[in-house]
């Protein structure tokens, strides 16, 4: 079956849904989008109306309801499901159901067995350790018992003291969480129980699972990623380089991503940065081969001040920040790489069609996450109506957004207030920083909430961080 005979259900919303639709259009694929009542004004809905064919848009009760998605897939005669990120992207039960039901569909993501093996933070750590890949010290399974949690926390404090760390700290994370949600750090064992209970209750409310992970908090680190792409059957696995995602909110959510992960040609590091990049890439590829990885995935790493890398987790899905890796990648010397397009092609069964030697990297990319939030108030989300959203078009800039620029837009309260991704490319670090500042200076974002207060965004925060990217 030629891949152009496929119709893809875009099982997501917002900016990623827009990008999946654009990739489908580039590949000549039909698509069908879904939306909830709150999302009726989202750009992906408009795109589906304007560019979609027959049966290309459905209103559903929830993006979280698998029955809803599959009922739409059947009525629209979709043959494949792209989960995007979040929602069902890393739910192996959903991926299994999609591919094993009577009317089978292709899950555009890793096979359900791979998701099951790597999607669980605990299994990933075990696998990594079995391959000699260093991991962040901490609990090997979700903890449901307060006393057990406290025991692990005490041992982590003790371990850090033995390492000579003056202010040891542990992280308490909702096991079922993600995207930086449900994470708190504890610097005093006497406060541990109250934090543990708070995260446990939060996890129960938000994720319906009380499981909590206890990990060592590594201070003074950089957060790196390796972007992997594998074809079905795992005959060919390639990587699209590294990213640095160290600029985060106080809640450990990414705000700026840079590719490549380090730039030893422009920045002096206290360790062999190129070797670290080579090592984490090699480790990631080795793990991918071991589990017979068969679509896109991201290996997330923490690199300590001395250059020691620790594997944090594997995200068995497309990441928000895939575009910044694409911006610096060239396939057989050609720019314009679209990793979502590559994901869909490979997911539908096409071979990658090129080797690692065909992928080269050029320049430096920055991805800015433009968010309605107040960084000065612990990045609290801002809710209201956007009345003006505009930016200066440049050939070195790519914007991805679901927010309309020709009419007001009310930010839904049901989802994260992410508004857009601005991806800036430059020949080198100095140029990309200047272009990044130029982009932010020319970005207009205005609005007001119900109380008439002006819109809050993280643009100034992004501006302040730009001179510091890739510095350690």
């Amino acid at each position: 079956m030629s891949i152009t005979n496929h119709k893809v259900l875009v099982a997501n919303r917002g900016e990623i849904a827009v990008r999946i639709v654009e990739a489908c259009i580039q590949l000549g694929l039909e698509f069908v989008c879904i939306h909830t009542a709150e999302d009726a004004a989202s750009g992906h809905v408009r795109l589906a109306r304007e560019k979609g064919g027959k049966k290309s848009l459905y209103r559903v009760s929830s993006y979280h309801d698998a029955n809803e998605l599959l009922a739409v897939a059947d009525d629209a005669e979709a043959t494949a499901v792209h989960p995007g990120y979040g929602f069902f992207a890393e739910d192996y039960r959903f991926a299994r159901r999609v591919s094993q039901r009577d009317r089978k569909l292709i899950f555009i993501g890793p096979s359900w067995r791979v998701i099951r093996e790597l999607g669980d933070k605990i299994n990933t750590k075990r696998l990594a350790r079995s391959l000699g890949v260093p991991t962040v010290p901490g609990s090997d399974k979700p903890i449901y018992d307060e006393l057990e949690a406290e025991k692990i926390a005490r041992s982590l404090y003790e371990f850090q003291r033995q390492q000579g760390i003056e202010s040891p700290m542990v992280l308490v994370k909702a096991s079922a969480g993600g995207g930086g949600m449900g994470i708190e750090e504890v610097h005093d064992i006497d406060l541990f129980r109250s934090v543990y209970r708070r995260i446990r209750n939060y996890a129960a409310r938000q994720f319906k699972d009380e499981g909590v992970l206890i990990e060592q908090r590594i201070r003074d680190f950089n957060h790196l990623e390796v972007q992997i792409l594998a074809e079905r059957g795992c005959a060919n696995i390639v990587h699209f380089g590294t990213r640095n995602c160290s600029i985060q909110s106080t809640g450990l959510q990414k705000r700026v991503e840079v590719a490549p992960g380090f730039d030893p040609s422009a920045v002096s590091y206290s360790f062999d940065a190129q070797k670290v990049l080579d090592d984490i890439t090699a480790h990631s590829l080795a793990m991918a081969r071991e589990v017979k990885y068969d679509n896109v995935g991201t290996w997330e790493w923490i690199v300590a001040r001395d250059g020691t890398p620790y594997l944090m987790e594997v995200n068995t899905r497309i990441q928000v920040e895939n575009g910044v890796s694409a911006a610096i990648s060239r396939i057989k010397g050609q720019a314009g790489v679209n990793i979502i397009k590559e994901q869909i092609r490979c997911g539908l069964g096409e071979p990658i069609g090129y080797n690692q030697e065909d992928i080269t990297f050029e320049g430096v990319g920055i991805e800015y996450r433009i968010i309605a939030e107040a960084p000065e108030n612990r990045f609290s989300p801002w809710v209201g109506r956007i009345t003006k959203f505009d930016w200066k078009q440049e050939d070195w800039l790519t914007m991805h957004t679901h927010v309309p620029t020709d009419q007001p837009y009310d930010i839904p309260t049901e989802f994260d207030p992410n508004l857009a991704l601005g991806i800036v490319w430059g020949n080198d670090l100095a140029e990309v920083r200047l272009r990044g500042l130029n982009f932010l200076d020319n970005l207009t974002l205005e609005g007001a909430n119900q109380a008439g207060e002006g819109m809050k965004s993280n643009i100034a925060f992004l501006h302040n961080k730009t001179p510091h990217i890739l510095l350690f």
């Binding site: 009542a37 009760s61 029955n67 809803e68 599959l70 409310r205 989300p381």
Partner: protein, 217 residues
């Protein structure tokens, strides 16, 4: 001071409310035979309301049939016969019916005017803090007293949670107007608080409604 007689007369002048049943999710729609404008509907019955109300529609989705029952008694005004047998999206209007207000509903309407309402400051999901939540689950809301500045809610928006303090007169929580895991719009009432000096008046409202409101069969 609330003029209960005047409020009751106003409600008596317009004792109906019209409600629309929409599809809760997607699915293939079947409207039951015999359902037509003018059909009388009943709500849940039985000691524990274990018998569902009149069948209004069935949605078939992923081989699961979901029956949509009438939540209260009333009379069909309109039904969407054009969609019979077709796949419907979520939120599509299926049936409209009118309903004669019950004693509880009249009481709720009047109490909303008598009690001190604490309103949602933002569109968000609201929860009681665990200590209050347990008390309400075990003994009911009237077992909980609140005072100005007391932290009794958790406000959840975009998966971020923030504590929320009650502001208003001290009293018992007489009514809770929000449901678990459902969004509440800005300005909607979260709780109705009865201050001690209002208890007599509220009890009077309850008695008057019980005596004066005649429900229709």
């Amino acid at each position: 001071m609330l003029d209960i007689s005047a409020v009751l007369e106003k409600i008596k002048a317009s004792p109906y409310k019209e409600l629309t049943i929409t599809s809760p999710h997607t699915g293939v729609l079947t409207l039951p035979e015999g359902l037509a404008p003018g059909t009388q509907l009943h709500g849940p019955m039985g000691t524990w309301k274990e018998k569902p109300g009149s069948l209004l529609a069935t949605l078939d989705r992923e081989r699961n049939e979901k029956n949509i029952h009438c939540p209260e008694k009333g009379e069909v005004v309109w039904l969407n016969t054009e969609l019979q047998g077709s796949f419907v999206e979520a939120g599509v209007e299926l049936v409209r019916y009118r309903h004669f207000l019950s004693k509880e509903e009249v009481l709720e309407q009047i109490l909303k005017q008598a009690l001190h309402l604490y309103l949602a400051p933002e569109r968000a999901k609201y929860y009681f803090v665990p200590a209050v939540d347990i008390k309400i689950k075990v003994s009911g809301p009237k077992a909980v007293s609140v005072r100005d500045g007391e932290e009794i809610f958790i406000m959840s928006r975009m998966k971020r949670e923030a504590p929320l303090r009650y502001s208003g007169p001290e009293g018992v929580i007489y009514a809770v107007y929000f449901n678990h895991n459902q969004n509440v719009d800005t300005g909607q009432a979260l709780i109705g608080v009865c201050p001690p000096d209002l208890i007599t008046q509220v009890e009077d409202v309850v008695t008057r409604v019980q005596m004066e409101w005649k429900e229709r069969e």
